[in-house]
Amino acid sequence: MKKIILRLLAALGVACGGVVFAKDVSLLNVSYDPTRELYRDINTAFAAQWKSQHGDNVTIQMSHGGSGKQARSVVEGLPADVVTLALAYDIDAIAERGLLAKDWQKRLPDNASPYTSTIVFLVRKGNPKGIKDWPDLVRSGVKVITPNPKSSGGARWNFLAAWGYALKQPGGNEDKAKAYVSELFKHVPVLDTGARGATNTFAQRGIGDVLIAWENEALLAQRQLGNNAFEIVVPSITILAEPPVAVVDSNADKHGTRDIAQAYVQFLYSPQAQEIAAKNFYRPRSADMAARYASQFPATHTFTIQEVFGDWHQAQAKFFKDGALFDQLVEGE
């Protein structure tokens, strides 16, 4: 018995001694699908910086999946210190459960989106179907790949980009937009559940003539699946996608990680992280870095969700809720 107590004391001593010298901190970042490569690089850079400034070893754990599904998991108790999701609506859903302040989007610069992206087209080498802009997607014989907006954040951006395009044409109105998007989904043979699944369908399985995708996802696919098998087509007008980040207040407080979680999301705005974002094909917010990587990101006309749709709640209610416009379009077929 005595021996056991002694051993326990010794173990305790070792544990406490460890705290004095260097803490081992771990942070869980719950993110969406296409950010896997981005955060692998960000995490390495942040851990190195934190170590040099504070001497503590920080391990950042990642969980990736469809944005909506990930938000759901955090609500169900996935202990995320930080969420970095595809759209504000999903973080709002977490805020509604009281896990973080409702004004989370105002706590960081630029709508709490340290990087942006747009929606572009990925076509096969040589662009055999001659896809140049949105109208080409609904020509007869063109097959379009896009994931399901009910489950995928990226797909919702795709949907809104298409809607916004149609609305902004000369003489465009709600009816014309509806007709265009309805026609567009008639050209979709497979609705994957997530953005990465759709990319795999298009690139690996060779289905479809054009993939509507995040610009970062399209550039990454071009690099990873290489050999110049694909080309990117930037449409004349598209949406500015702002994937937001936030500290999950109640989890961070519970884990005692608020400081480091806060430092982590702020680090995303630093020049170092902005460059990592650009290298991983996200458009950096910093004008400096944007200028340096300008050749990678062709200029295009973009509109924001606020300009065309008000906000995510209105867009969600109008298009993606059960029984809303998207369901009607699919059932109408």
Binding site: R36, E37, S63, R196
Partner: protein, 293 residues
């Protein structure tokens, strides 16, 4: 026409049917089992042995392997105990609700694994029935190892019991009663009479249970939270790597899973070959045959 010629006339089409059936079975086997299995290994070694090994010794892969084994090591023995107890109750006692118990044991076979995972989220998730209580006491079930074990136990629950019940029914309880009459204690009877009688069926059940426990995807996917290196089992790791365009890595981990399955098969075959003469007495299939004739 004499009798001899008639049999020959019948023999020809019969042989044709024989050959056709065997060929059909072979084609099916090759198409649906051998080819996909071969693809796994071909893709895994697509870029040679070195990248294959490198993919497997990555810390995430190693932790996935460790977690898969850990979950199996907890879930399989628990299901072994439960399976024996359930089979015992079902075959040695008459009680009300016996049919219901039988149906409940079969439930995991008929329920989709995804649904069984969701059930645990609804029970133990932060918004679930027991969620707030668990949270107050700092107990983590969902998105942690206990949740993975629970989900795995649920889907593998019937394997042991379903293997034992028909056998124990066929064997009856005469030998056990004889042991008791001759003065054996309950435990002596169980270890010296019952267990030796059911050991082969038990082993089969455990092997099947283990194979399923290691390969389970759906239920585990729902309760895992997909935290890399922490709550990712091998099947989840395969999916993740595939999604990261790491095809060699995905198939390398998949090939390990396939190897585990082949190992299970090899163990089973080896035991059958080594103890072949003993097995007929304690295998449900063969006892049924004995009773049938």
């Amino acid at each position: 026409m004499n009798a001899h010629a008639r049999t020959r006339a019948i023999a020809w089409p019969r042989r044709l049917v024989h050959v056709a059936l065997i060929a059909l079975a072979l084609v099916f086997l090759v198409m649906f089992l051998v080819l996909p299995l071969a693809t796994v290994f071909v893709e895994a070694f697509d870029q040679g042995v070195k990248p294959y090994l490198a993919a497997i010794v990555q810390p995430e892969a190693l932790s996935a392997i460790r977690l898969t084994l850990l979950v199996a090591v907890i879930a399989v023995p628990l299901n072994l105990v439960f399976g024996v107890a359930a089979a015992w109750a079902m075959t040695r006692f008459a009680f009300r609700g016996k049919a219901l118990l039988g149906a409940i044991i079969d439930l995991p076979f008929s329920v989709s694994p995804v649904v069984s995972g969701l059930v645990y989220v609804l029970l133990f998730g932060a918004q679930g029935w027991f969620g707030p209580w668990l949270d107050q006491h700092g107990i983590k079930i969902i998105f942690a190892v206990p949740g993975l074990v629970l989900a795995t136990m649920f889907v593998t629950l019937p394997f042991v019991a379903r293997e034992l019940i028909p056998l124990m029914q066929a064997q009856g309880s005469e030998e056990e009663e004889a042991a008791r009459v001759l003065g054996a204690s309950a435990w002596q009877m169980f270890f010296r009479v019952t267990l030796p009688n059911i050991r082969w069926a038990l082993l089969y059940g455990v092997l099947l249970c283990n194979a399923r426990a290691m390969g389970e995807f759906g239920a585990v996917s729902v309760v895992s939270g997909h935290i890399r290196g922490l709550t990712t089992t091998m099947p989840l790791e395969v999916e993740m790597r595939y999604n990261e365009y790491d095809y060699v890595g995905a198939f390398a981990v998949a090939s390990l899973l396939a190897l585990l399955a082949l190992l299970t098969l090899a163990v089973k075959t080896l035991l059958e070959w080594r103890y072949g003469d003993e097995i007929p007495r304690t295998r449900p299939v063969d006892t049924r045959k004995r009773h049938g004739t």
